[in-house]
Amino acid sequence: MREIDLLTEFSRKAGSKLEPENIKIDDTTLRDGEQTAGVVFANDEKVHIAKMLDDIGVHQIETGIPAMGGDEKEAIRKIASLDLNCSILGWNRAVKSDIDASIECGVDSVAVSISSSDIHIEHKLRKSREWVLESMKSCVDYAKSFNLYVSVNAEDASRSDMEFLLQFARTARDAGADRLRYCDTLGILDPFDTFMKVKTIIDIIGIDIEMHTHNDFGMAIANAIAGIKAGATYVNTTINGLGERAGNATFEELVMALKYIEGVDLGFNTKLFRGLSEYVASASGRILPIWKPIVGGNLFVYECESKISAVMSDPKTYRLFSAGDVGLERNIIIGKYSGAKSITFKLSSLGYKVSEKEAMQLAEIVRDKSVSLKRSLFDSEIIDAYKSYKNESKKSNNLTGKNGGS
């Protein structure tokens, strides 16, 4: 089959309707998010983030790595004891003592993680494929004997030999694992490859799949969605896309993309998104860029004249959802790209009325000002420009004795 026909077939298949009850979010802000170089949460922050995620309606929280001991273990134990609605998961290497540490924390679910790619097996683990299967199987058996929900994580799955990955998935399934986490550890997949690979595993092995994607080439969200379309039922996300290197699939982007592009509403309380993002940004010591999709705010800040009048008449002309849906507000600012309509609107919101002619002249004044200041203007600067303009025109009227445009 020609490539283009194959991709067309994928895309058609990917178009089938998704059901909200088949999609569950497993948020890993507290694990992969904290694992980001430079990021450390305080225990209180971890507990608070867990509570916020639970309030929003997340299905499962990956709370950390119990085997690290000390503070980390304490935070996980605390979260597990909160009696939240969501499931609580602990992350483990495929090592029995790691799982013991998880059990001591009182989690209901464990992730058993081990690499499945030859490059990792050879260069990182320095072991054999057989060793990998054996370690994974014995850990699943062990965790299952404690009646835990078990996610087997195939690290670097996207660079794994498909034959071996299928064997890996089959071994996990036969050992009683509840799901397989498909890790695109290096973020090297594109949505079409993701669709094909995930579909292959589901068709052949028939195990629940969780998507774990990374944003190294800017495709974390698209790949997570591609996985869902191929039949994956879980997605591993982080708030603000926090995570190793370029980060993971962003929680708020995924939820909103599902709702507004794919037509699946997970029923989350999205109005809490901005607040949650701000909290995690501050706890992780990372700014929240204003152009950040969904929660950055810039999506609802308008400067461009042609857009402003359209948005005034109907916000849907430029945005699929409204600022209030994610806890933000719409804002109109005045700068280099402003025109008469923007100025009229802005001044009226500040309590000043201008004629059409005045608005045209003022627009030119504020545009020049914005260019010379290399930024948009503050409200006080706009009012100041308006007052100076009024004074000037009054003066020139007095001088000429003529009636100016009032």
């Binding site: 994928f10 178009g15 450390v40 980390e72 800017g218 290197r245 430029y318």
Partner: protein
């Protein structure tokens, strides 16, 4: 990986100086615009949008000055489908323009307050002015992804017949995912033989993925901006598209990627928007490894956790010591400082470093590692001394 069958020629057109500057709050100075144009040219970007002539005299003056630089890349100015705007473009001395017009019913109704016939007439009128002024032009359909296919094709046929250079499909509200993008581009191309350019937005974090999907479906050009700068949530990032084409699709555009970090930094400064450390491709965290498993993996072989060498985009690898570090990182770090630790020492220092990191709520500076080491050495010596004096007694 399903690779593209034949190595088609893929074009990128950078809009940092146009849609990038159109971002609410961003204004470039004249010098900055000239510098960015030069930088884009130097790294080998084939086409750039340099501004909007209708904005005013200053903007036109800058456009004229960029033209005078006689760059290798092809320069474009941006116009709405309004005869006056096209006259302004001609005045600036530019040879190539983009004629933009909304084609979706929601835009026609709510933005223009007009009907489809009005849109067709405006476009024809604008093209006439462009041709009279001997301008090459791209026709850009704003909100194309929410446009009735039949009407979109009608507009495309007009553009083709009147001699447009190519046709731009605007996904201005990020209405599509990659699969729909693919199907849509594929469908259009099966109905009309004309070069297509894709314009994507990042409202749901899929600007790059949608751009790449369009390319896979047969689009030959994609609109990008450095750091993904642009209106709202921004455009497909230049650096992401170039690297994704190279490493995911095996298409090397021949761009000097080793300058990426430098260019990204300059644009970040000029737009007063810091590059987040986690920014894909050019963020400093992309090659920073802290967790024991990752750092150990990278030390054994960078390929364990890196797809390309950091030098390729002008970055360097960093090993960061913090809460998630393992003893291999400590051994490696101290070796860099010229100190060979035993495994036992490394483990003990690791415990101290981890607890300090938890306490400080961040990773440690190299200096702080040295302080830990000195304290550790001091205590050890003191202990040895006490033991010695105990023995003597």
């Amino acid at each position: 990986m399903v690779a593209l069958e034949d190595k088609r020629r893929i074009n990128i057109i950078d809009t940092t100086l146009r849609n990038g500057e159109q971002t609410a709050g961003v204004v470039f100075s004249k010098q900055e615009k000239l510098r960015i144009a030069k930088m884009l040219d130097e790294i080998g970007v084939p086409e750039i949008e340099i501004g909007t002539p209708s904005l005013g005299e200053l903007e036109r003056e800058i456009i004229t000055e960029i033209i005078k630089l006689k760059l290798n890349c092809r320069l474009f100015a941006y116009c709405e489908a309004e005869p006056k705007e096209i006259e302004y473009a001609a005045e600036s001395g530019i040879e190539n323009i983009i004629i933009n017009i909304s084609t979706s019913d929601i835009h026609i109704k709510k933005k223009y307050n007009k009907n489809r016939t009005w849109v067709i007439n405006k476009l024809r009128e604008s093209i006439r002015v462009a041709k009279r002024n001997k301008l090459n032009f791209i026709v850009s359909a704003e909100d194309a992804t929410r446009t009735d296919l039949e009407f979109l094709l009608k507009i495309m046929h007009i553009a083709k017949k009147k001699g447009a250079y190519r046709f731009r499909i605007g996904d201005n509200v990020s209405a599509y995912d990659p699969f729909r993008t693919f199907l849509s581009i594929n469908t259009i191309l099966s109905m009309i033989d004309f070069p297509l350019e894709i314009y994507t937005k990042n409202d749901f974090g899929m600007a790059t993925a949608n751009g790449m999907a369009a390319i896979r479906a047969g689009a030959s050009s994609i609109v990008v901006a450095i750091n993904g700068l642009g209106d709202g949530t921004g455009n497909a990032a230049l650096e992401e598209i170039v690297m994704a084409l190279k490493y995911l699709e095996n298409i090397d555009l021949g761009i000097t990627t080793s300058k990426f970090r430098e260019v990204a930094e300059y644009v970040a400064k000029a737009s007063a928007r810091a590059i987040p450390v986690w920014k894909a491709i050019v963020g400093t965290n992309v090659f920073a490894h802290e967790s024991g498993i990752h750092a150990d993996g990278v030390l054994k072989n960078p390929k364990n956790y890196e797809v390309f060498d950091p030098g390729e985009v002008g970055l360097t690898r960093q090993l960061v010591v913090g809460k998630h570090s393992g003893s291999h990182t400590i051994l490696y770090k101290f070796k860099e400082f010229g100190i060979d630790l035993t495994d036992k020492e490394a483990n003990e220092i690791l415990t101290l470093a981890r607890s300090m990191s938890v306490d400080l709520k961040r990773s440690l500076f190299d200096k702080e590692l040295m302080y830990i080491y000195r304290d550790y050495e001091g205590k050890k010596k003191k202990r040895e001394k006490e033991m010695k004096s105990d023995e003597e007694e």
